[in-house]
Amino acid sequence: MTMDKKTIRFTVNKEMVEVTVEPNALLLNVLRNDLGLAGTKYSCGTGACALCTVLVNGEPILSCITLAMAVEGADITTIEGLAQPDGTLDPVQEAFLDHGAIQCGYCTPGMVLMAKDLLNKNPHPTESEIRGHISGTLCRCTGYTSIVRAIKSLSK
């Protein structure tokens, strides 16, 4: 028995897209494989590391444990959608570069999106609030210090 594919639409980085997917298609795989947006990473596959973070209707979620069909019609932002169309980096991205907060780069898309989400909600986060907001996002390289410093530098 084969599954019934369905054509679904949603907005990704401000562009309307249409994909034909099976019910068991995960949003992460649709973004990476169907749409070629490889910035969002496939890491643990269980929702434990948050390297698969994307924004759905403005809120960060774990795309490796979200069905594509469950976000039909939603407004999705991936890391590719953060910089300006002309290539100008977001201040969060600049801060990460300035503070050496990127080593292997694998956690960076997830960390940057969570930093952006935090600063949108709270422009003056304390270090404790920063660490709390990125507590779901695992980094194996930096020990988090440079990441926290980068985000703190944007806390005004």
């Binding site: 995960l26 269980t46 929702g47 948050a50 444990i65 069905l67």
Partner: protein
């Protein structure tokens, strides 16, 4: 996760009718933060997912004078964003803040946390000590009210029938003399399955405990009330000696197992320590 169908009902009635005609080979899904990982690890293998996440009219927090009512599809993030919960139900606020991570909380729902029925379900502990009621809907318009202390039957097993959906959770608003504390011990700052957790709600006049409600997570097949310890606290003045005495009682009442997160011995010691700390915090001002 092979051979799957996904269905978005337009309302609660359609969800229930679809469940009935699926005759068991389905699973309700809301935020999916337990269901999808379970399906990927093949713990669950439903043929049909009925997505309750679209039922927006089951997302609300109402302060109805003496009672708080929370719609089952309310996300944990929505609970944390609620002024009413932060100010009037600090115990639930504390537990919600320790569930998963900011990302899981954006999708996870309070109804889903209860329906998944983990022995360490974070929102279950405050709801147990506040003696909450779980309200449900079944096909053909029937409804049920299940007291929280009769809701959990075993690990990942509840009193819910197959075609029954949680619609709302209600509980009495904690009074001015009620002080509580929630503490969770985990192996990570986020995304931690509790090694042991405790919620305490004490009705205090000075140091005299008029009423005690205590719940533990991860130390029994279900989130549990420590009824014997509660009785030992009630009507007495809380001092160090009584707290120590009760912490020994706690170790007798709980039924921890050894697993990858800790041994039964460790859990007994941890639960006793969390209990002592939670009671001390509740007595000296409450909240976590």
């Amino acid at each position: 996760m092979d051979e799957l169908e996904y269905f978005r009902p337009k309302d609660l009635s359609e969800a229930l009718r679809t469940a009935e005609s699926a005759q068991g080979a389905f699973k309700f899904i809301a935020g999916g933060t337990n269901v999808i990982p379970d399906m990927r690890s093949e713990t669950l293998a439903p043929r049909l997912l009925i997505d309750l996440g679209v039922l927006d009219d089951l997302r609300y927090i109402r302060d109805e004078r003496g009672t708080i009512a929370i719609g089952a599809l309310t996300t944990i993030s929505q609970i944390l964003a609620s002024d009413a919960i932060r100010e009037k139900v600090p115990l639930l606020f504390a537990a919600a803040g320790r569930l998963g991570s900011p990302l899981t909380r954006n999708r996870a729902t309070i109804g889903g946390n209860l329906a998944d029925a983990s022995p360490c379900a974070d929102t279950a502990l405050p709801l147990l000590v506040m003696e909450a009621t779980v309200h449900t809907a079944r096909p053909r318009g029937t409804r049920r009210d299940i007291p929280m202390d009769r809701f959990f039957l075993g690990p990942n097993r509840t009193a819910l029938a197959e075609n029954e959906i949680i619609t709302e959770i209600t509980f009495p608003k904690p009074g001015a003399s009620e002080r509580g504390s929630f503490i969770k011990l985990g192996l990570r700052n986020a995304m931690a399955i509790a090694v042991a957790s405790v919620a305490v709600q004490l009705d205090l006049r000075g140091r005299t405990c008029r009423k005690a409600r205590i719940a533990f997570g991860s130390v029994a097949p279900t989130p549990m009330r420590a009824a014997g310890t509660e009785k030992n606290l009630e009507g007495k003045d809380i001092d160090e000696r009584l707290i120590r005495e009760c912490s020994l009682l706690v170790q007798e009442e709980i039924l921890p197992i050894s697993d990858i997160r800790g041994s039964a011995e460790y859990r007994k010691m941890a639960a006793a320590a969390l209990f002592r700390r939670a009671v001390q915090e509740a007595v000296s001002g409450g909240g976590e």
